[in-house]
Each structure stands twice: as structure tokens, then as C-alpha cells.
């Protein structure tokens, strides 16, 4: 038997319609070609999801895809990816998350899960090392994420089980529902929680006890020591504050998403950045699997001073001076994207309400970016009189009002009243109500953009224009992040390309070259593009929303001519034709012509 490092050559297939499971052994070449992540997801989605398939129907397929590095004992190796056809965009959705779940799946002996079909009744998948079982989840249906974690661990009798799941939002097919894992980690983008909900797959619970076998442990040990001994030089802000510590700099630079991406600055930014979170509401920083950077904020807020006190470690617990909200630390704390989407872009400076909204997104299973941006769009429509209080049953939609944001989250997740309309995502609502409301959308391919304004950040222009997942800031269109996505390593780690190559070699034992690493990334990009082409996307979809043609006070708008030039350059770089369609020659150069050449015509 060939010695294998970093992967097990085992992918689990689950047929929910039949209630059966099977094991695929894809072979060593498969792992060397795809690595995991988006490339692996796209492979299975192209293979199994027919053109025109309903994203919320039985023909969609859901892929859990860690990478070959996921689960190895090295900082940053706690990433996994999920993929499916998106109910928000109609194209490919792929979203990454940190935490421990992906590493646990690898430690259970699995390199990925491909979920087919639809279950008649709610179920959850229980993976206990090599034992796999579909279990009834009727008693979990309707419950929030924290309660589901508690109940599964209790009924299976193991507190160390790791759980990925859709929340109530996913059950209710909110088109931007996310998949939560480990209570506070989100594979946020593209409505993947709704896909799980449509399949009536409430959760995937995993327990794994076998460490991932690596080719050269000493390299990983020295890399881990390098990370932990150079935190001050390389990860200081991440380590002490997490994401969102630079919001004031972005604001000075005129690039803050503000009032639905209209203004570029928000005067109260200092009240809501990661420094403010750290000084006012944070009780600790938390880590993902094997990572010494510990960039995850944990926030706790009590309703009153009397309830507050201190943590077991003596850290003071904050309270809401207005006595409105309690924020449970099990749901972590707001990352930059949530601080901006649920705060700054809504001109909300109420940090307690922002922390509450973030907690609710995590326990309801809502993507905080699409949720915040759909609300931002709706607030502008409300301000312009295009949505009225009659439409909303009297619940206001006002910029600057954190309580309004909190109130809408439950309505959206449970599709109550006008929340049922907003649960479709901003683009579908704008298409429905018209009246010029399309002009202030912030969506690409139907997906609300991340909180990085491309007028301010040049490196975001290509990402938003060309990410196959639409307005997704984390969707890697470049080689560096494309590779990291495929192999399962965090883009926050300050590894240079040489270190990433060393880690990949040490984990897998492959004699991999820098050129081969780039090719892995290109395969992911090309397969995702091929999926979108197959599902009706054309060059016309590679465009930014109209709002981003407007100037900001400090930054010029991005003209259609400028956008077109950038798109054409990227097509050429990836070896696609002038309409952005991957060519048979391009697929041959990537070594994937045999499987997919029929899709290029």
C-alpha cells in the first residue's frame, strides 16, 4: 500500500433520499490535482449538479471540503470549505470557515463529505471515526445553534463532538443562511445554510481520534514555534484584537462602508472597532485548531450591572447600560465584517446592539454580511419611501438605529412579515419592487459584497468582479489565497509562499514546486468558472453594481470601461476565452480535460 500523508483517500457520500452512505476512494492523483477546498467542491458540483438544477431542490449537492493540510498540527490548519449551488446567486457557492470542525473530520479519517438528495424528515449525520449514521433530527428542528450543539453532545454522550449545522434561518430557506460550526464559526457566504435546510440535514456531528499523519513532523513543529515566537512581529494586532483593529485607518482613508456604501466615512467609527470591542466587551481571545495566533474575539454582555461580575479568570464582564440585551459568549464576538455590516455601513454606533446582532446571526444561522447589507439596502429604500411602514407592519428600518437591526434579524430568520421578503436577499427584493431601487444595490451576481470598498481597495476590484461566488471578499481570485483555500490553510497567517510550500511538502510528502502550487489554485478558479458557465452565467455578470461607478469623496468611481479592461485581463491570465469561458486547451493545460472538456462547448 502506498504511504499517504495529509489525506486518507476516503470521501464519504451520503444519499439523503435513500438514507444510505458509501465510501469513495478518489486516488492519490485526485488529491494532488485538487488539494481540497473550492477545487474539490467544484469537481463534485460539476460532476453531480445538472445545468439548471434548483439550488434548493434534490439535484443540488452539498460538499464539505477540508484540504490536505487541514488537521495537521500547524497554525492555520483549522480551515475547511463548503460548496454547493447557491440559492442566492444561482452559481457556485463556496465558503470557508475556521474553528475545529474541519480538523475533527480529518481526524475521523475523512477527506470530505458529498451530500446528495433530500431527506423526507429532518436528520443529522453522526460520524464517529469510521462509523457513520443518519439519525433523526425532528427534535432539533427549529432550535438555535447553541441548543442543537448541547443536545447532540448530550444524546451522544461526548462533550468533544464538533458540530456543523444550519440554524433556523437555513431551515426556513433564507437565501443567505450560513453554516455554523463550533458555535461561533461561520461558512457565511452564498446561502449554504439554506441548502442544508432544503435537504433537511440539520447538522453534521463529528468525533475523530486519529491524528492526521504527516510526512515530516519536524517542519511543522518548527513552523509552529516560529509563529508563536514571532507573534509580536507578525500577528500582533490579530493576536491582541482580532480583525477590525484597522477600521479607523480605513476611515481616515475614506474607504469605510457607510450608509449603504454611499459615504466612505463614518464619524463614530472609534465606537465600534475591534479596539472598542476589546476595551468594553471582550472577555478573552480564542483560537482555531492548532493556532497560537488566537485572533477570535469572545464577547460577553449582561443585561445589568448586577448580573455582570467577572469571569472565572477575573476578567470584568460588561453590561448593557440600557438594560436591553444579553450577549452569550458561546457565540464568540464580531469579526470586522460583522462590525462593518451590522454597524458602520448602517451608521450604527451602538456597540452593544452590534454585538447582539452578531450573536443572533450566529445562533439563527444568518450570514452577517448579506444580512447587514440587505438591511442597509432596505434602510435606504425606506429612507427614500420605496419601502413604507405599511409594508413593514410598523417596524422601522432606520439608519443609525441598532435596535431596528436587532428587531429585523428574527423576522428575517423566521420569515415573519416583511422579513419574509428580505429573506430573499436584496437583489431579488429590488427586482420585485423596482422604482430605481436597483441603483443602490451592493450585490455582484446576486451576492451582497463584503465590507471592503473596491473604490478604496484596488486588490478588491478583481475579487468582486470575478469571484465565481459573487460579491465575496473572501473568495480568492488570486494565486496565494486560491492555493490556501484548496489546501486548507488560513489566509491570516503571515506565511510567505516559500513557507506555504514547505508546509505543503511537510504534510503531504509531495515534491511539489511553486508552479504546481499555482496550478492547483488555477484549477479551482477554472472549475468554479466552468460551473457558473454551465449554470447560465456570462461575461455580462462580471460587473460591479451601479453604486460603485459613483465617486466617493476620497476615491473615484469605477467606470464600466475600467471594469471591462480588468475583466479581460483576468480572462487572459486564467487562459479563458474573450467571453470568459474556459477553453479545452486551458483544461488540458490544467490536466482536467478528460473529466470536463465536454462542458466547454
Amino acid at each position: 500500500m502506498t504511504e499517504r500523508y495529509g489525506y486518507w483517500n476516503k470521501v464519504l457520500h451520503v444519499d439523503l433520499t435513500a438514507g444510505t452512505t458509501s465510501i469513495e476512494e478518489p486516488g492519490d492523483e485526485f488529491y494532488r490535482m485538487y488539494g481540497g477546498g473550492r477545487a474539490m467542491s467544484a469537481h463534485y458540483l460539476l460532476k453531480y449538479v445538472p445545468a439548471g438544477a434548483d439550488a434548493l431542490g434534490p439535484d443540488n449537492v452539498f460538499v464539505f471540503a477540508p484540504g490536505v493540510i487541514t488537521g495537521a498540527a500547524v497554525p492555520g490548519a483549522g480551515r475547511h470549505s463548503v460548496g454547493a449551488k447557491s440559492p442566492l446567486s444561482g452559481g457556485i457557492a463556496e465558503s470557508e470557515a475556521g474553528g475545529f470542525w474541519g480538523a475533527e473530520l480529518k481526524r475521523a479519517g475523512w477527506d470530505g463529505i458529498v451530500v446528495h438528495g433530500v431527506s423526507e424528515k429532518p436528520v443529522y449525520l453522526w460520524i464517529n471515526n469510521d462509523e457513520v449514521e443518519l439519525r433523526d433530527a425532528s427534535h432539533l428542528w427549529g432550535k438555535i445553534t447553541g441548543d442543537v450543539e448541547d443536545q447532540i453532545r448530550e444524546e451522544l454522550g461526548d462533550a468533544r463532538i464538533r458540530i456543523a449545522q444550519c440554524g433556523p434561518a437555513g431551515e426556513n430557506l433564507v437565501r443567505f443562511a450560513c453554516v455554523m460550526n463550533d458555535g461561533k464559526e461561520a461558512a457565511g457566504r452564498g446561502g449554504m445554510g439554506a441548502v442544508l435546510g432544503s435537504k433537511k440535514l440539520k447538522a453534521v456531528a463529528v468525533r475523530g481520534t486519529t491524528p492526521v499523519v504527516v510526512a515530516d513532523k519536524s517542519v511543522l513543529t518548527s513552523t509552529a514555534k516560529w509563529v508563536s515566537s514571532t507573534l509580536d512581529e507578525n500577528h500582533s494586532n490579530f493576536s491582541h484584537y482580532g480583525t477590525g483593529v484597522a477600521m479607523e485607518g480605513k476611515n481616515l482613508d475614506g474607504g469605510t462602508p457607510s450608509r449603504n456604501f454611499k459615504l466612505g466615512q463614518f464619524d463614530e467609527i472609534r465606537k465600534i472597532d475591534a479596539v472598542a470591542v476589546g476595551e468594553n466587551h471582550r472577555i478573552q481571545m480564542d483560537a482555531c485548531f492548532a493556532c497560537s495566533v488566537r485572533c477570535k474575539k469572545v464577547v460577553q454582555i449582561e443585561m445589568s450591572e448586577a448580573d455582570a461580575g467577572v469571569t472565572k479568570k477575573g476578567i470584568p464582564i460588561s453590561f448593557d447600560p440600557q438594560g436591553r440585551y444579553r450577549v452569550d459568549p458561546r457565540y464568540g464576538g464580531p469579526e470586522y465584517e460583522s462590525l462593518a455590516s451590522l454597524g458602520g455601513n448602517l451608521n450604527v454606533d451602538d456597540l452593544v446592539a452590534i454585538c447582539k446582532a452578531n450573536e443572533m446571526c450566529n445562533y439563527l444561522g444568518l450570514d452577517s454580511i448579506s444580512t447587514g447589507s440587505t438591511i442597509a439596502w432596505a434602510m435606504e429604500a425606506y429612507e427614500k419611501g420605496l419601502i413604507t411602514s405599511e409594508d413593514t407592519d410598523g417596524q422601522p428600518l432606520r439608519f443609525e438605529h441598532g435596535d431596528d437591526v436587532v428587531a429585523w434579524l428574527t423576522k428575517i430568520a423566521y420569515r415573519e412579515g416583511y422579513g419574509d421578503v428580505l429573506a430573499e436577499g436584496s437583489q431579488r427584493v429590488a427586482e420585485k419592487i423596482g422604482m430605481g431601487s436597483e441603483d443602490f444595490l451592493t450585490t455582484v451576481k446576486g451576492v451582497e459584497m463584503g465590507m471592503h470598498d473596491p473604490r478604496h481597495m484596488p486588490n478588491m476590484r478583481q475579487t468582486y468582479l470575478l469571484a465565481p461566488t459573487g460579491g465575496d471578499h473572501g473568495s480568492p481570485t488570486n494565486d496565494r489565497n486560491g492555493l490556501r483555500n484548496a489546501v486548507g490553510i488560513c489566509s491570516f497567517l503571515a506565511y510567505d509562499d516559500e513557507q506555504t510550500l514547505e508546509i505543503l511538502k511537510a504534510v503531504t510528502g509531495w515534491d511539489v514546486t511553486p508552479e504546481e502550487m499555482v496550478t492547483i489554485a488555477h484549477r479551482g478558479h477554472t472549475l468554479a468558472r466552468l460551473f457558473n458557465t454551465r449554470h447560465g452565467f456570462t461575461r455580462a455578470d462580471d460587473v460591479l453594481p451601479k453604486r460603485f461607478q459613483d465617486d466617493l469623496p476620497m476615491h473615484e468611481g469605477l467606470s464600466l470601461e475600467f471594469q471591462n479592461e480588468m475583466v479581460q485581463e483576468y480572462y487572459a491570465f486564467q487562459g479563458w476565452d474573450s467571453e470568459g469561458v474556459p477553453t479545452s486547451e486551458g483544461l488540458a493545460a490544467l490536466g482536467i480535460a478528460e473529466d470536463f472538456v465536454s462542458l466547454t462547448t
Binding site: D232, N237, V245, A246, E248, G249, L252, E335, M451, N481
Partner: protein, 90 residues
Amino acid sequence: MVEPANLESTITLQCRLVGELRRYLPNGERGEGPVKLPVPATVDDLLVLLGVPERESLVVGVNGSKAPHSERLTDGDEVTIVAAMTGGVG
């Protein structure tokens, strides 16, 4: 207070270093405090005095507006220094 060796012809700035940068203002409570600089002084002179590394990746505000590193500073200016790290994209 952070001071240069030669105090003749100096200006005093009110500085605020955000996040982990505050360690470069050791006596400044919560990253805030006065800094004396000899004139003429630019933003870059201030960053050199404070010993902040990777100066090119910093965003500096003077009296609430973004300022280039070549900007001349004057007595009483309020200077904010932020590292240009963004979330979500590494």
C-alpha cells in the same frame, strides 16, 4: 512623554496610536499622549522617533484627515497612527 535629545525649537503633538501600535508610546495611557519633536518635522520624522516599523503600511491622520508621510507637522497637531490591517482578506 517621548522627547528628542535636543529640545530647542520643538513642537508638541498629541499622538494616539491605535491597537498594538500603542506599545510604541510606552508612557502614553491607552496609546495616547504628547510627543515633542524638533522642527521642522514631518509625519515620517515622528514615526522614526517613535520607532514604529513598516512605516509604509501605516495610515496616519493629522487633525482628523489622512496625511502623507511627508506632511509638515505643527505645534498642537493631533496625530492618529493606525496599522493598515483589514479583516477577512489577510
